[in-house]
Symmetry: C2
Subunit: 551 residues, 2 copies
């Protein structure tokens, strides 16, 4: 019966007898013929009318979300300061509106109807449509018990945090920062509690983690982290011993022109095959902004540091990894639909860290870079700029208090510390007032150094100030995924070095495009990792990578 | 009874017993206490619940509109080209959504309830609230019979036109431009016909004019234009005679650095007291973009012409006039409400042309400018840069085919020609196919010169290509309003010259702020002009201005 309705629909479209019938059948009208954007699967007729209406509703939610990306980027990079308050209101309003549309009273019914249709007519549903419906349901379930005003406040506070963090960091005073952090924690506790009504998470913290990494469990994360910490701690003394015997790197002492740096980083993104037709690289005085859409992936990174050009390179290839993932999503077929989105923060960070940590800190990378920076900065033969010295600078294992300056080995402990602190905060075992001391102790215990001040301590990261609780674990999980993918990719296309040395990195991007990016959310993160690498997510490939490089 | 409900509401707010009562009373909840933006009158409790709900609905429509401004500006100035199609879809969707909210099925009922309340309880309604309700009703009436898909298409085609016009203009080929223009005309004919169902306009063209100039009539416009054309034609021979006896101006021959020009124009806007806290000046390869909001008035003008610095000055003080109007609107009290908006295109252009034509082409202005450009462009003593020569360059009456390069005297005929052509197009007396010839004939008859090519002919203006039919008359009406306001302002604060010569133009802005900008839509255009100047809008002040300056 549904199948024949599908046929009827096709006929109706041709015979233009749709309008009068529309009231009788709750079917969303197909978009007008001459569309602005090609949306193959969005426009495709499906035998289930409820699913067609769902696709239209989610397309509109997706458009609001894309609009929010543009507004948010403008907020942080170009907007005049006097527009601050009204823009906050607009952003908060937009997110509230998206939430209202996602939790619209008709949504449950449409989802139920589509589910029933899929059960009765499995042949009408290909794997993409089924996955799309599943993702719609997941989104609905995660949000249906959250009040719109909480989401409005979440969006507002996020942008308050984004714009205030740099000033709070510059001041370095905990008492100034505390009220905002308390407000964020209290708000996100409410959100997590509302979510737990329908998601059956074991804890508020697990619920928050799942907002960034759908399907992740706290138990699995803890096991991976515990095992990796144990194995890493075992080899740390050897790594440190090795470091001591190495010639210490020469620090960079030049003054590196900002415009030249921006040119260099644009060029490196070209080498990575980032698509500048659909994106670009921009600077901001605020923190880097992830995100964007497959059609508009403008990366925003920190303004260049004229004393150290390696910082901007790290930032731009990191954000470039995110950008390449976003640009590789199945936009032509699934733009705006849930199944066309990325797999969340852990896979996102895996793409960023693959470029930033694994490729961008390899000997091959600095061999490629060294002669070019000698030329660019008019400094031929400076021993600071040799491939060997640059490599040593970026692979120098040291106990530093700041995560973003950390080396590839100790980076994990920075993340592990934040993960434990966040969990304690949301389990009610740690009060915000006690956070500074807890932070310093935890960093001391895990990273092996006690921060001198809050600037290098708990104020350093923007995440909590914008309400990103449960995000940090994605860095360590992403690092593990990156290493696991890199092992498999090397099997498939050979060692990275030849691509890096020749400045021809397309095969790396192509492999990631095919295996990861183009899949959108067709599979869950765990399923995708298994199907691509033949193993479950494990800490062992990362351990092997660290051992091979640092021992 | 309503009054006491207002009191009850106040009490409820304090006692936090609102939630359970909300279902019983259809009252929009007041926004949460800690708001992003101060919205005094928006938040103010009003005795009429329907009006309160209307205020909330119009606030949200206003926010969507403000979001559209940001998206549109980004589209034209910063967006990567590959985002073109998806951004068009987002913009069109946004405008469709605004239209749907404006014509929501509850709107009519709410407006009726509020009207009834105002009739029964006139004391509850101050003049601002009454004017606000009136404007809400006007907006509703103008849109309630237009289908959402027409508005979606209008927005899409507007941005297609904005981004394609510069290429079409560069090519200069009528056949390439014709399909877009035909599409625009056909679409806007449909919109006008739908509007006429409720607005009783005498013609489709009048209906289109009223979209830009609420309350204007075709009859009045024709009378003003006919009278002014008659009087101007009478004095034209004398003006031309006068010109012949003047030393001809020396053309500019320098190469004027673009960055220096941008600095200069920024500085001139500072002199005009444009508020850079809430705005800025940006360049684009496309046409200048009007608009913005009182909180975010970023002006976008053409990239500097390195051979003629006067062009960019004209653009930036023109757009600056618009910007100062927008920034002066009653944002703190009426942000997003209809009564807080500007009075439409004629008054908008009056503000732009007051700065661009009346102030920006005065002897005083060039006396101020001359020594500064000598210094800026490192060219002391160049006779091209004397105040007298710059003044002659900008007051040189000549028959040129291009409106934007026209002098203050013949400018009117450019507008008059477009007005007549538009009217004929929408009255069905002129086919699009015959437009090129009709254009050339009309320009020849009125301006006295026949364009050599379409680039200097009917392709020169962006307006029709973005669907702005009925906008052109606002330039001539705006010029008349500007002259009428200038006469009155001179009575109040003395001649402009002393402010211009000293670079202290705040009194001019303050007068406009007080008399025009801060009034929003409290009065209609006609009422406002009468109340400020003591006379109805007339062509005579402009004629006096032209006579005084050019005879």
């Amino acid at each position: 019966m549904w199948r024949s309705l599908g046929q009827l629909w096709q006929n109706m479209k041709q015979k233009a007898i749709l309008k009068p019938l529309q009231k009788a059948f709750p079917i969303a009208l197909p978009p007008p013929p001459r569309r602005a954007e090609p949306q193959a699967r969005q426009e495709e007729v499906h035998a289930c009318p409820a699913y067609m209406e769902l696709k239209t509703r989610f397309r509109d939610i997706g458009r609001l979300s894309a609009i929010g990306e543009t507004l948010g980027r403008d907020f942080l990079t170009a907007m005049p300061s006097g527009a601050y308050a009204s823009r906050l209101g607009q952003l908060a309003f937009l997110f509230k509106r998206m939430h209202e549309e996602l939790t619209h009273e008709k949504m449950q019914q449409l989802l139920d109807e589509a589910r029933a249709h899929e059960y009765v007519n499995p042949n009408d549903w290909d794997k993409w449509d089924s996955a799309n419906l599943q993702e719609m349901e997941n989104l609905y379930i995660r949000h249906c018990h959250i009040g719109g005003e909480l989401m409005e406040e979440k969006a507002r506070l996020e942008y308050v945090g984004r714009s205030q963090h740099s000033a709070l960091l510059a001041k370095g005073n905990w008492e100034d920062a505390k009220p905002l952090l308390e407000e964020q924690i209290s708000l996100h506790r409410k959100i997590a509690l509302a979510q737990q009504k329908t998601t059956n998470q074991t804890s508020a913290y697990e619920s928050l983690m799942q907002n960034y990494m759908p399907g992740i469990t706290l138990e699995k994360t803890e096991t991976l982290f515990r095992d990796y910490a144990r194995d890493l701690n075992k080899i740390m003394p050897k790594i440190e011993e090795q470091q001591k015997q190495r010639t210490p790197p020469l620090p960079l002492t030049g003054d590196y022109d900002n415009t030249a740096q921006l040119w260099l980083n644009n060029s490196l993104l070209h080498v990575m095959c980032f698509d500048f037709e659909r994106g670009g690289l921009y600077e901001t005085g605020h923190n880097p902004v992830e995100g964007g859409t497959p059609d508009d992936t403008r990366l925003v990174i920190n303004t260049a540091d004229h004393r150290n050009f390696l910082k901007m390179i790290k930032s731009s290839i990191h954000e470039g990894g995110h950008g390449i993932y976003i640009q590789g999503l199945p936009r032509k077929t699934w733009r705006y639909q849930p199944v066309g989105q990325d797999l969340g923060a852990a896979v996102q960070e895996s793409q960023a860290l693959l470029y930033d940590m694994i490729i961008g800190r390899s000997k091959a990378f600095f061999t490629y870079l060294s002669p070019r920076v000698e030329g660019l900065f008019h400094d031929l033969g400076n021993p600071e700029l040799t491939a060997e010295n640059l490599y040593r600078l970026r692979t120098n294992v040291a106990h530093t208090p700041v995560r973003r300056g950390a080396d590839e080995v100790t980076y994990f402990f920075h993340v592990y510390a934040r993960f434990q602190l966040e969990k304690e905060l949301f389990d009610g075992k740690l009060n915000t007032a006690d956070l500074p001391e807890a932070w310093n102790n935890k960093i001391h215990d895990l990273v092996g150094i006690r921060p001198d001040n809050h600037k290098d301590g708990l104020l350093q990261d923007v995440h909590w100030f914008v309400g990103k609780f449960g995000y940090f674990p994605s860095y360590a999980l992403g690092h593990m995924i990156a290493a696991q993918l890199a092992e498999k990719m090397t099997e498939d296309i050979g060692t990275f070095d030849k691509y890096i040395l020749s400045g021809q990195m397309r095969p790396i991007k192509d492999w990631l495009n095919e295996k990861i990016h183009s899949k959108g959310r067709l599979k869950s993160m765990d399923e995708l990792i298994y199907s691509v690498t033949g193993s479950d997510l494990s800490h062992e490939p990362l351990l092997r990578h660290i051992e091979a490089k640092y021992l």
